[in-house]
Amino acid sequence: MRSMDVLVIGGGPAGVAAAAEMARSGLKVTLCEQGGALGGAIHRQPGNPARAVPVPRAQSARWHKLSALLAKTDAEVLTFHAFIGLDATGAVLVEDRRQGRLLVLRVRALVLAVGGLERVVPRPGWHLPGVVTVGGLQVMMKVTGRGPAGSVLLAGSGPLLLAVAAQMTALGAPPLAILERSRQVLSPLRAAPLLLWPRYLAEAAGYMRRLMQAGVPWRLGSSVQTIRPTDDGRLETVIVDGAGAVSRIVVDKVALHDGLRSNSDGLPPAAHATDRNPHVVLAGDCREALGGVAAIADGRNAAQQVIARLTGAPPMSSASRRIVDTERRAQQALANIFDFGIPDLLKLPDETILCRCEGRTVGALRQMLATDDQPSPREIKLNGRIGMGSCQGRFCVEWAGAMLAQQTCSAQPAGAEFIGNRWPSRPVAIRSLLGPAVADAISSIPPNESD
């Protein structure tokens, strides 16, 4: 650790692009990644390079270019370092997970590029072991180079289902089926705007070709309604198809995905520096979930903002901003054919888990909402313990907010109304908090001399 101007959090495309751009301009940059390697969700690198999951060529080329760019700079990369928060004194708290200690850093700018989240709509049984997110299943394949064992059902909505099904197939482990909730995916009228983005169409065509050759069905209008454990440790799913017909199928794994979303709840908001705080800039999917191409451009945008603020250099070209705008329109076109809407959650059975961390149910929230005094999002969290758990509401406040809105026919509250943005923005090991903090990296303390 050495003195630094800028701390970048997150080693995905947005964070790497931001770090490389700022380092090239002469700023002293440190990049912290909580995992063991750079790449983020999309460019997750295989443990064994000989066993890589096939990805579109343009996608791997983007990452090669980006990581080569970073390698040419003097930016410092710290893996197994997790951002914990910005404290009241304006210090950035980072947990060194290897050493189990807390770093208290003072920097001039902080770029947060911690990535987005997958949405998974709650349904009975979505909390069971063996139920994973589609992206989580993909991460596992990318790391191990192997397809999942046993029979797998992919369900939900979005292009990621196709991509992951094709990757599973290429690894010799095709899913039983893809259940795509939207019926509109192939509607020419809805899909027409996508002709403006041939890159997405070509990628999808490649995936579909592979799936058709392998005979993997892509059932439009179908969804998994309920998941139950069987006596022999498998999962029985109840499926409703586009015509309303119900069927049951027993599988080993269910992978769910209902789109991607931003992840800024719980993070300090973007702001100019004050006499205490550094400049804070959010970049990539955590700011707005727009995909891998936009994440790189957004990282560059963030870098240019920081460079302008720290060096007084005039803002540079608007090319990156235009890429982000174009990708936003592409995502809107995709959202038009897939189904990222929120179903009527008030119809879920009472025993459905809503908050996975605290095990709070739909029934518990329904009861709170049935009282004459409508609870506020904060009250739902503090009294109902929904969104209180260790994921800090990342996988439930959207649904709690939707239930509140559906019950009261009002606008859906933002996730931040439940969560706020006080640190820690993620759980931190108590031993790190209790241990000797390594203060002020500007006069940095090498690991072994700190105690």
Binding site: A41, G115, E118, G136, V139, M140, T144, C357, G389, A429
Partner: protein, 86 residues
């Protein structure tokens, strides 16, 4: 076929792993999907894969850590977070 010389312990049971495996990846390969009693009322298990959901937290050498982020290390004692509830 593969070098399976390295292993850690899951609740006392030996689990082989490959270079760069996370604890979650090695448990998955060994067919362990239910990680036992977790931080809340639901059992611990792999879900998001990116360190966001906290569902996969297990005890790694006595410290709670996400199985999906923590690299497997030879000889490590990895356990269910809490004693299994009745």
């Amino acid at each position: 076929m593969t070098d399976r010389s390295e292993s850690f312990f899951w609740n006392g049971q030996r689990i082989s792993f490959e270079p760069a495996d996370t604890i979650a990846a090695a448990l998955e390969r060994a067919g362990v999907t239910d990680f036992g009693a977790g931080q809340g009322p639901c059992n611990a298990r792999y879900f998001c894969g990116i360190g966001a959901c906290q569902a996969c937290v297990v005890s790694v050498g006595g410290t709670p850590a996400e199985a999906c982020l923590t690299p497997a290390q030879a000889g490590q004692q990895v356990r269910t977070l809490k004693p299994v509830r009745q």
